[in-house]
Symmetry: C2
Subunit: 341 residues, 2 copies
């Protein structure tokens, strides 16, 4: 048919700052996917330029930059901002939290997105789920971890919120940028380091200097990345562009998890061929980490009303999810994992 | 800024036929989500009306209707069409196949979408993943299944492709529409029936007439639903609308799995309270089903070049996925499922 004489959409130019270097083609790539889809859907009229950390904003400065409108959008891990408020941590992953599918279910069909939109309002941020890594590995260790005593005094590069659980276990968390981890491990300045999983870890070559590769990453059973949009910038969009932002984010969300799942297996095989020793954490280490995590959550529930409000919903959801997943999904997966394929 | 004087998008009216009744708010709902997002993104200019089975096209007539252009779009389970070509089955789920995340990974970042687009070209169909149920339950049984002998002669309502494995195990698959299953179970015309999982099964009340509820649904470790688009209709779209179709489908894909995951736990609890007995299949039954499935896949690989091409890629991917998932994801999930939450 003939095109009706309606008003065309306005031209929009947004800048998006990512917390992730371009070398992480999976996570940084999810922001590229988001920008590409918006560009395609709008015929080039809604353009988003994606900026690596440091180009406009430091890696961990996304909340401030989006809040102040320095940029219209960011792509980051909420838990980087747990120093502002521990509540942020639940937006990505907390130790012994929801896994990837469960977190996605909580956001989209539980109360997750609603509760976080309320929480982020004080930062003038509107968020959209923008990718998940799946369960991460538990990191690289120069020496084997055989008992809980091996955690005592362990100097480990680990993210902030999980670090507070490691401290309670007697470990010594270290904050070191990705690009400096290898050298610190090689020199023995640190004893261990966690990064992400096989596909990303392989690029940094850790197996050469700390070959013991532990699982599971109990502090990241499914780490979500979010798109943060400045509230005024979002509200200035037409209804059409708002819907495009939502679906472009969902597309990035589903394809980022797909990238990790599709690419990790071959990377794991290469790492093992290169000398990595893949080992499970001893049960005593898992149990200690679990106990200290639950203690921490209880303290936060008593002291932080934001945490209390969201964690109450999150932890009820987690309880139900694990009850259900234990049956058909877990049993199917376990059978397949032990089958001769 | 001022809107540029560009050509506005054309008005598009599509009809989408769903294989699923409106009562299945999860699966039928995914097509509604797809239509709603397209409507929002296009400012109402790209409208899709969603039709229940029988309104325009029978439930299982989606391939023919989309191929012939009777409708521009459909939302259906590819495995319904395994009678045309067994290859269709891999598009949804095959016994002991990929789980939900793995199938999504294969489609989006493996070769799945590419291979299926090639396969569907003979039907003038372009497909987009449009939802997954997660691992389904193994159905409702009037009597307990204690040994492999209990499968012999078992008259069971089960989908076509899985039915051919059940036949090899000595069972007698029955084809019965959803609305007639309850009565057949009550009268004893059939001994067992599988449907989907707690949230959908609860609506049909099976626990009242066949209380033994088995897991896992080894024939549906993650059942995907697809949007099928008529090739000529898709190719006639502007690049903008094509991109909108893609992201609206991705949004429906991620939100449908979220709906199932978020809603199944409470439904399972209600079913148990109403008398359902939740039981695992005996290992001998699982092993027999696995063996017969692998035999069938070997025969299909020898006889069907379409199957061979896609299954070769699919089965390699499955092997790698299960190697990888066994480590951090499965170990994390297992710990959580046994933890006191």
């Amino acid at each position: 048919g003939v095109a009706p004489a309606v008003q065309a959409q306005a031209t929009i130019r947004w800048r998006l700052t990512s917390s992730f270097p371009k070398s992480l083609d999976t996570i940084h790539g999810a922001a590229d996917v988001f920008a590409k889809k918006l560009n395609e859907m709008s015929g080039g009229k809604f353009s988003v330029t994606v900026h690596a950390p440091g180009e406009l904003v430091p890696a961990l400065g996304v909340v401030d930059a989006v809040q102040q409108g320095t940029v219209e959008a960011g792509h980051t891990c909420p838990y980087y901002y747990a120093g502002k408020d521990a509540t942020f941590a639940m937006g990505t992953a907390i130790p012994f939290g929801l896994n990837s599918r469960q977190l996605t279910a909580w956001y989209y069909d539980g109360n997750g997105l609603k509760l976080f939109r309320e929480f982020y309002d004080q930062y003038s941020i509107i968020n959209f789920p923008g990718g998940n890594t799946g369960a991460q590995m538990g990191g690289w260790y120069r020496k084997e971890i055989k008992t809980l005593d091996d955690i005592k005094g362990l100097k480990m590069r680990i993210g902030g919120f999980a670090g507070s659980v490691l401290t309670r276990m007697g470990g010594v968390p270290q904050s070191i940028p990705g690009g400096e981890i290898y050298q610190a491990l090689e020199k023995g300045t640190i004893d261990a380091a966690e990064w992400i999983g096989p596909y990303d870890d392989e690029k940094l070559g850790f197996q050469k200097v700390a070959k013991n590769y532990y699982y599971p990453g109990w502090w990241e059973g499914g780490a979500q990345v979010d798109f943060y949009i400045n509230k005024a910038a979002f509200n200035a969009l037409s209804p059409e562009y708002k819907a495009m932002v939502e679906t472009a984010a969902s597309h990035a969300h589903v394809t980022m998890q797909a990238m990790y799942d599709a690419r990790n297996p071959a990377a794991l095989k290469r790492l093992v061929a290169a000398g990595a020793k893949v080992l499970p954490f001893p049960k005593a280490v898992m149990d200690s980490a679990f106990k200290h995590s639950m203690d921490l959550y209880k303290e936060l529930t008593d002291s932080n009303p934001h945490w209390k409000k969201i964690y109450t919903d999150y932890s009820n959801f987690r309880k139900d999810q694990n009850l259900w997943f234990r049956f058909t999904d877990a049993q199917f997966d376990r059978y397949m994992q032990s089958a001769k394929l």
